[in-house]
Symmetry: D2
């Protein structure tokens, strides 16, 4: 039986030398990032463009952030956009790249049945994994408020099991995000939930904290041992040296929202400057060219394709990117 | 009969002093920008976030760029995204702002009938105006190639008339974009087409040029007189002093793609730096905070609304933005 | 200030005679159906086609059924389709018709904030009203199971108030659906909730029952008096004479799912017959013609428009519907 | 490397006996329908519900008709719905069924580049094949007008080649629809185009006719020989005995629009009757039950899943379908 490889599941590494490592598709590549003993990094993206920049820069994986995607759309991180609007953003991101993407799936957008639909759709779109958190729909961003209610542990385990049973790619990953520390329920509860989620089939645990110190994260790592891969998001404890995470046995670090924050800053600057100066003259040289946009979105591929598929005629399209 | 005011059509200026100017909705505001003797400016945005930044900076109007929106989605400026995917982006942009938006409607996405549907949908979404260009679907970006074929003039006039006949808000504007200069067909053809489009009902003419000098634009202005408002896009002739456009009687200048270009540059920088440094420590202070994202997307309004609409309970959500 | 009339908000009755009744838009028309002393009827539709048939038949309003729309999409009535996928179906339905539509909004698709977004979007799309029920997201169809949990009454009142505060058309209606009888919580609880929802701003109460007798509905009517309009859905107590509802002072009866059920039956028949007979010969005369489809979807309007907007050429499109 | 099997690509025949035939996925199943020496039949569907009915009736494949889907949405068969709105309907249809689906792809929704995107998306959604016709975007239904312009043959061959080069499932099929007979260009032109499209990679030829006699279809079959499978649509020449097509060597017959026509007829009847009678009493017994809708959309699977994934609680959902 033939496989249903879509373009984004093509091998992401070419076999050039002998002996070459096995070629992995995106689902396998994310799984390997999670399982490998090395510390891995996922970089935030929020649309096809930023996803492409993450790939071009050399990152091995993308974090599709719910906060960033919401902000990019201009809405709040409270499930204001529907899950299919979110899915459409993810599809553009997956289409624009070939590295694996781990998606911030919030609470799974409802109960176990909504998780099932989500997981099947993500597999169809070539998304390699999803992270779901043990809170309730509609969600509130974890950095807001102090004692958000958590989901019933058994009910959340049902979401994980339903998701795993629904994946249509064997290598799809589900990461279970434990919010117990942020909700003020303590380390024991965090460990109890992590254990239950792991037993329910989660491929990795994301332990989240909003303290400026990584102490509780490192403490979790110590208690957890290496029962399964652990993912962290050092947005608040950014000052902790990355080496500390490596030594603690963390599997994967997510840089969670820095592209959107950089974009906000830059757009404010350029918009403000143009508004004040009523002119482009002073800033043209500081910006990437329009041709650079064409290059980023693959205009040269289309030029080649036009030669291949369009009848010859005078005045055919052509762009010299090097010009 | 009551009006169907949606949130984004609320008056955009409050009447504080006596005697106050008449309060305009977004459709009227764009019309006034086009008609006023002053030189007006529209700043590019490509999603809800950038639209909000354009508004916060003080611009009076937004240019929803087809190139920028396509690039943001990660696709080419060749009608790869469908017109309803494009429409959804526009809806998020309109929802996130209260200033008027002029939309880059490419060729109208087909024939006169497609233009009719587009115009009705834009009116429903609170978009104040659309610009359509005299080329063929699927479009190619005007800065690519040298002699792109133009639409039959009469057929394009039909698109304009059909659009005007379909608008469900009396103040909706249609701007007709003349590509004759870029297509190498000369000034006479440009003027002939501008005249025909004006006669067909276009509320303004966008005369486009890809030369680095504004000479042909200024020549057009001279020949055109003041028959109707003229819009320009000085992406290529950016070095021309804005005063020259003012003196020539230009109505509106579009700064067409500078937010997306600034975002590309900033995201490349921050992604590259995080990739190299494997740490956030060095850049945290250079970026807007996560709370800034919450503020931009209106978290404080939601906090207030929760007090109003949610039953009181312990541990309710709260975020202190000033913290 | 000019209004943002979209096509579907055009007056639905033309003023021909003197003195003519006031001309109502769709929002006003639904309000009048609810408020008028006469018994009104809403007929189920689930897509643009069935909506158009409901209008052509002479009904004054449409019930956009969640069960029927879900079934039509091929999914379960458990919020498997996202709220924006549902919204898109509603938009096609509103575009295809000019009579008012009351939408089955399930639970409002989340909390008060999701209701706010829903109501704004419905107003934009020309939908005249929404019915929300006092259950939890994701919903289960009311005819399934016996003791579905109800929403907290206060929390549900918050959804109603939030919805009313968010409507962008003054005549938009929110109908609050009381599930207490179906959930086995008794008449007192049903009346208590109806009173609270009415006080929270609901424009009408939908009292639902799944018994085959209308006794509890008629009892509710007696206790309720005429505090506000009451809507009923006699799917299960279909044998009760309609006169009984009229005498009891019911405002509006919803025929809730009979178009989808008729379509299922007919499609099974024709598909089965074609499968058995491997031929169309025997059934062609029993079916509406292809031209009838063209007529239903307005092909003649497009033919007229082509004459108006397309340049004259040989071989132009033309269809003679009478042929 | 593992395959990306989605649910709809699961084997459609279980191997129960020995020796069993090879198990085919949906892509392979359509290919086999086209290639097999037996006459095959595809039955029209236009949404998830009708697709499910086609499968339950025993048909081996579905024809996703552009005319029917447009009519169902309430729009004209002139590319009024966008290609992604159309794609969303197809996704619901594919999700609701497991038999293969051939999609009416109109002209491919633009040029070769639009065809490329379409084909990739169809493969992702589990759609087994697409038919594209040699006309221009936006399309007009073939039964309207007399001399619709055809696409340039070479340009259309480019669309076919681009589509074939883009499929991400090796067994995806592209059927090229020849409109030359309908456009009044004669048999020689039809054969010339069929030959060119076959050479460009089309997996089958759909030869279309709008005459009430099948004479030109049978003549085409004679001239064509068996160079590749031929598909026909006897909407207008319905009176021709199916045996004539079998003898002529036709591969596949499409019953193109009979479910939508049956649904129109039935909905008109039931809506008219309810409008006249203001009662359901007389027709309840003639309609499928509400429980039948639950069964059609798979409620029993959800009931089972709730037992598996939801924590036990009192008052759990349960529906006894047999009741």
């Amino acid at each position: 039986m033939r496989s249903n490889l879509n373009a984004t599941e093509n091998p992401i590494a070419s076999t050039s030398a002998t002996p070459s490592p096995p070629v992995l598709n995106r689902f396998q590549a994310l799984r390997q990032l999670l399982l490998s003993p090395d510390l891995s990094f996922l970089m935030e993206a929020h649309n096809g463009l930023s996803a492409k920049i993450v790939e071009e820069t050399g990152f091995q994986g993308i974090w599709a952030s719910g906060l960033s995607i919401s902000a990019s759309l201009g809405v709040r991180d409270n499930n204001e956009a529907s899950w299919t609007q979110f899915l459409e953003v993810l599809e553009f991101m997956a289409d624009a790249t070939s590295i694996p993407m781990l998606v911030d799936g919030d609470t799974g957008f409802g109960n176990f049945n909504n998780v099932r639909r989500l997981v099947r759709k993500l597999c169809d779109r070539g998304v390699a994994g999803v992270c779901i958190e043990d809170k309730l729909f509609p969600k509130t961003n974890s950095f807001i408020g102090d004692h958000q209610p958590l989901a019933d542990m058994e009910e959340f385990c049902g979401r994980i099991r339903a998701g795993k049973d629904s994946q249509t790619n064997d290598d799809f990953s589900i990461v279970a995000r434990v919010e117990a520390l942020i909700a003020g329920q303590g380390m024991d509860e965090a460990l109890r939930r992590a254990e239950a989620y792991h037993a329910a089939g989660a491929d990795a645990i994301l332990i989240h904290s909003k303290r400026s110190s990584a102490a509780e994260i490192l403490s979790f790592m110590e208690h957890w041992g290496q029962r399964c891969p652990v993912v962290i998001v050092p947005t608040m404890y950014y000052a902790t040296p990355t080496e500390a995470f490596r030594e603690a046995g963390v599997s994967t670090v997510i840089w969670a929202n820095h592209n959107i924050r950089a974009a906000i800053s830059a757009m404010r600057d350029v918009t403000g400057r143009i508004h004040r100066e009523q002119s482009l003259a002073g800033l043209e040289r500081d910006l990437p060219t329009v041709k650079d946009i064409f290059r980023l979105t693959g205009q040269d591929e289309l030029n080649e394709a036009e030669k291949r598929y369009l009848p010859v005629r005078t005045g055919a399209h052509a762009i010299i990117l090097a010009a």
